[in-house]
Amino acid sequence: MFIALNITVHSFTREQSKSVLFYYSILHPIELFITRLLFNFLFLIGTAVLLILSMTVLLENPIQDLGLFMLVLSLSSLAFSIIFSFTSAIAVHTGMKNTMMTVMSLPLVIPVILTAVKLTLVSANVIMEDGTDSDIMILSSINLIYLGIAVILFPYLWRS
């Protein structure tokens, strides 16, 4: 049950962010990128929290370790927002935005989803796992790497 919930969180928020993203495609470099990223991040977190609340009300809450869960949630939301912000910035320049967006971002989010699903299962006590620290490290370092490279490359996208 919880895997399903987690995946719905992911897919649902992804669809949402995708449609919202295209509303902005003018204005100037890094600030714009950061603002957009923050907006996406908050939006993702907001949706996820709403979803968790409604799930808790309607069904029961299987999460044992809420701190870990929230940490994973925010880290993976951040990763999603970086990836989607960046790929959508590239995709708006092409003829077929939606297709290109999906094609480019999907492989990039797979490792994030895999790690996040595993950690969420740990937080729900479905599986026992010792390596949570290293998994969180993986998520944070993926975030850092993606963020760094996106910030470096983003100004080049806006030069034209």
Partner: protein
């Protein structure tokens, strides 16, 4: 004709010929029965591979290695042919419920062939005490490995050890080609010049083809060693994901018509893709358990697995494949340049 094109052809020919024709060292592939009892004499039939039991019959010895010092020596060895023999082992008392023993067969022609965990000796409750006398010191001075240019014999891998030259080296040369592509992508962003973009895209394209071949050869290897074409192993999945990322790169290039815009966007994306690929291929698989060598506790290249005879073919294979890829990339660059010139004129 440039010297490196010729070199790549020579190296690849050498890799193909040596990689397929050099025989393996002698080894043991089968031994029955697996379960034997302590304090009894058991007849074991042994099947060798590339061995010369008949030729070296006079100096033939077989040992069951119990620990690093002691073992049981076979008596009454009967050689059936070059690769089959039966031998009687008088096993003494053992400590503990059961223990695994390795089999060593040695003669002057083949030197020593080893099968780790060949038999499981279980304790026989009715055994008489005192049969430990049958343990003898292993004659290490008589053991050795066969000299000459031969590939090592490894259990499970057997002849597929040759795939090292194709699977492993094609991934490595793919990575080298991607590095060249990355270099030219960065160069394009610093100083927009359409030729940098053409170079980068050509190198990336041939690297993608290499990656596909890498996946295919890995799949064949997996079929023979793990028994399945594809498993949900993290290294395999991440390799497939990184290939998807680069396939998106080719799609991105195909989706944009304007030459300069395509050059810029694809340069940006390819840098992003390369950086995203590094944690996929080299960090994630190392953090979790994986069947694939080099991850999650499995030994990687080097050490015992990659011995000097393998190195003599493996390194030339990497260089040869890289140069060959470079050759194809330059041809691709010439085609792209012609298309570009044509698009300017029209």
């Amino acid at each position: 004709m440039s010297w490196w094109k010729l070199l790549s052809v020579i190296l690849l020919l050498y890799v193909l010929i040596a990689g397929f024709l050099v025989p393996l060292k002698p080894g043991i592939i089968n031994l029955t029965p697996f379960n034997i009892k302590s304090s009894t004499t058991t007849k074991l039939s042994i099947q060798g591979y590339n061995t010369h039991f008949k030729t070296g019959e006079t100096t033939l010895q077989a040992w069951l290695k119990i620990d690093s010092v002691n073992g049981y020596k076979a008596t009454n060895i009967q050689v059936l042919d070059e690769t089959h023999l039966t031998a009687d082992f008088a096993i003494g008392d053992i400590t503990g419920e059961s223990r695994d023993a390795a089999l060593l067969v040695t003669n002057d022609v083949d030197q020593t062939a080893l099968l780790p965990s060949a038999v499981r000796i279980s304790k026989d409750e009715t055994a008489q005490v005192g049969t430990n006398l049958r343990l003898q010191k292993l004659p290490y001075s008589e053991f050795g490995t066969k000299k000459g240019f031969l590939f090592p014999f490894r259990s499970i891998l057997y002849e597929t050890v040759r795939n090292t030259f194709f699977h492993v080296s094609i991934w490595m040369s793919m990575f080298a080609l991607l590095l060249v592509g990355l270099f030219y992508s960065i160069k394009y962003l610093i100083k927009p010049d359409i030729h940098s973009d053409i170079t980068a895209s050509s190198f990336n394209l041939i690297a993608i083809v290499y990656g596909m071949i890498g996946l295919a050869t890995g799949s064949v290897w997996a079929k023979f060693t793990w028994g399945t074409w594809w498993t949900t192993d993290i290294k395999l999945n991440m390799a497939a994901v990184s290939m998807l990322i680069y396939l998106a790169y080719t799609l991105l290039r195909a989706a944009i018509d304007d030459v300069d815009k395509r050059a810029k966007l694809s340069s940006i994306y390819s840098i992003f893709a390369f950086v995203a690929m590094i944690p996929l291929l080299f960090v994630l698989p190392r953090m979790t358990s994986s069947l694939h060598p080099g991850n999650g506790g499995n030994p990687a290249l080097g050490g015992e697995d990659l011995d000097n005879t393998l190195r003599m073919v493996f390194y030339p294979a990497i260089i040869g494949l890289f140069l060959f890829g470079m050759w194809i990339a330059t041809i691709r660059m010439r085609i792209e340049t012609l298309f570009y010139k044509k698009s300017i004129q029209s």
